[in-house]
Symmetry: C2
Subunit: 342 residues, 2 copies
């Protein structure tokens, strides 16, 4: 690699003092616009790089935020990351991204790497099976703030950013009941993390409020992939009596389950009504279009980044806030419209 | 922030020499396992951080790769990033991600920020309207390697990682012709970037090879969103005679266009056959399932990261390679199957 260009090189070339160059590069008002322009142009021409590294070493901050997500290749998560990047970028922060691939071991190793990179703060959506959180202890010891989003936890006063999954699931289930469904099924992932635990609770709660019975047979647990949608359709088609409403924790799985049932001759929504979760683009492709919960991923990313950076800049102390709950509304489409007037 | 823990603190506490601590932390074979264990445990307990920053300042590398993409919230791009993160992570590199939001101005500012962060290399998929590439000049001046992927360009010997878009489009169009289609339409984005230019070329070429006429009316230009799919359906439904085959540059747009035409009473594939591009999950939700080109995003991300890191480690000189072309095959599904035996 070539020798790094310094302010002394710029000063020498322009025959001015290094102090003037330094002040100009910091946009100091004492330096004339004309001089600044000259210096900026030469800096660019010579490939001068502001010494972020040396400066960070002094300032003890890196203007970077670490982000750990379970997986990057999901539509929902990609919208969250787009929101984080947008807000962080506008506020002068960069993001370093890592995926745990749903494994606590990889999550711990990502946390460790980000810690050693001295990120100023951390945004985390937990892996599926993370129970022990001790890999985050090093951050708290150093007072590096952590905010959890979507897949959250109760961890030593850290802020959570989430939606009210229980309420959303309750609303989804209640909607199915209002549409005349009486034999309901919930298709979801193992209720280990808050998102799945709370959705199952909301489902049960809505049944109870409507005076409908609940048994464990009404819950199908799988990994919410497209393949899981096919598997669930096979289970559902063999249930006696046939269920008349299905609430699924994920749109992608819901739509595939729905079209697999259609191929077996089951009518949607007349025989079985469907509600999904997230409001992925896939909802508008499915026939009938899928009723779902609108999960505001982009806004969640923006709020997470803004909260963390406000804390870092000293404007707000996130430890005073336990959680920020974002609005998540039911979007009614044809897959659940059994009563035509609704 | 608290005072940083140093190897001297660890040495003092354990009553051993700083040199022993330093060697143990570097896993030097001269230090016994027992001593290493003692030191590692204390390092963790006291929150010692390997001084990556100071070390990077000496080594002149940061073990980070900058990534600039047009937008983060697309399924295809999220699979590429997942592939980059996976390979980079395994090879000890972190990724810093930035999105240009399809604007050359934002792309230039992202490039500048990443340059000042001293990324070791850059992976770029260009914004829609980037023509002037001078914002990348500073990298080349400093010999910081750049690799372009998907949306590539011819820029001063930089390596491109791409698929053969012309060949893929030719194959898609030829497939439609083999299925008996004669009045073909191509729905795509403004042919400014390689991906859209090459797909249009491949479309035209296949028509020519089959002895079919081509006119500009056969190309519908829009932004490939779901809404663009609805708009295109309206245009197509009014064409006289009705086209009998549509090749779309994006699955999401293709599926919405297809179901909008179906609602108008047009049969797919009997009246109009469809082929999309990317192999997004949406293909398997659409009815009929969408024939498409399988664009291997995850593999593209892996290859991009591996090529860049091989170059950085001195194993391979990427400047000796102009381009790596990945395999992209046609996946035939029901949306184009007019001849049942094929």
């Amino acid at each position: 690699m070539e020798k790094e260009v310094t302010i002394y090189d710029l000063a020498h070339k322009l025959e001015i003092s290094p102090a003037t160059v330094s002040r100009a590069l910091q946009d100091h008002p004492a330096i004339s616009k004309k001089t600044k322009k000259k210096i900026f142009e030469l800096a660019e021409e010579m490939g001068y790089r502001t010494n972020n590294f040396a400066r960070n070493l002094r300032n003890k901050n890196t203007n970077t935020i670490g982000v750990i997500v379970p997986r990057l290749d999901s539509y929902f998560m990609s919208t969250v990351i787009a929101g984080i990047e947008n807000t962080a970028g506008n506020l002068g922060y960069q993001i370093i991204i890592s995926q745990s691939s749903e494994q606590v071991k990889k999550e711990a190793s990502s946390a460790n790497t980000l810690f050693n990179s001295r990120v100023d703060g951390l945004l985390v959506s937990l892996a599926y099976d993370t129970e022990d959180l001790s890999h985050f202890d090093i951050f708290l010891k150093k007072k590096v703030p952590i905010i959890f989003f979507d897949r959250v936890t109760d961890y030593d006063g850290c802020m959570n950013i989430l939606i009210d999954n229980r309420k959303a699931a309750n609303e989804a289930t209640r909607h199915l009941i209002q549409q005349g469904c009486r034999r309901l099924v919930h298709l979801t992932a193992i209720p280990k993390r808050n998102v799945y635990i709370d959705r199952l609770e909301g489902f049960k709660q809505a049944l109870e409020e409507a005076g409908l019975p609940y048994s464990e047979d009404q819950v199908i647990i799988d990994n919410l992939s497209q393949e899981a949608g096919v598997r669930a359709a096979e289970i559902i088609s063999k249930m006696k009596p046939l269920p008349d409403g299905v609430f699924v924790s994920n749109d992608n799985c819901a739509t595939v389950c729905m079209i697999t049932l259609k191929k077996m001759g089951i009518r949607i929504p007349e025989d079985i009504a469907f509600v999904g979760f997230n409001n992925d683009p896939v909802c508008k492709v499915a026939e009938p279009n899928l009723t779902t919960i609108n999960y505001p991923g982009y806004e969640m990313g923006q709020v997470a980044a803004r909260s963390l950076i406000s804390h870092l800049s000293g404007a707000v102390n996130i430890h005073a806030t336990t959680a920020i709950t974002l609005r998540a509304d039911l979007i009614v489409r044809a897959s659940s419209m059994r009563i035509k007037s609704s």
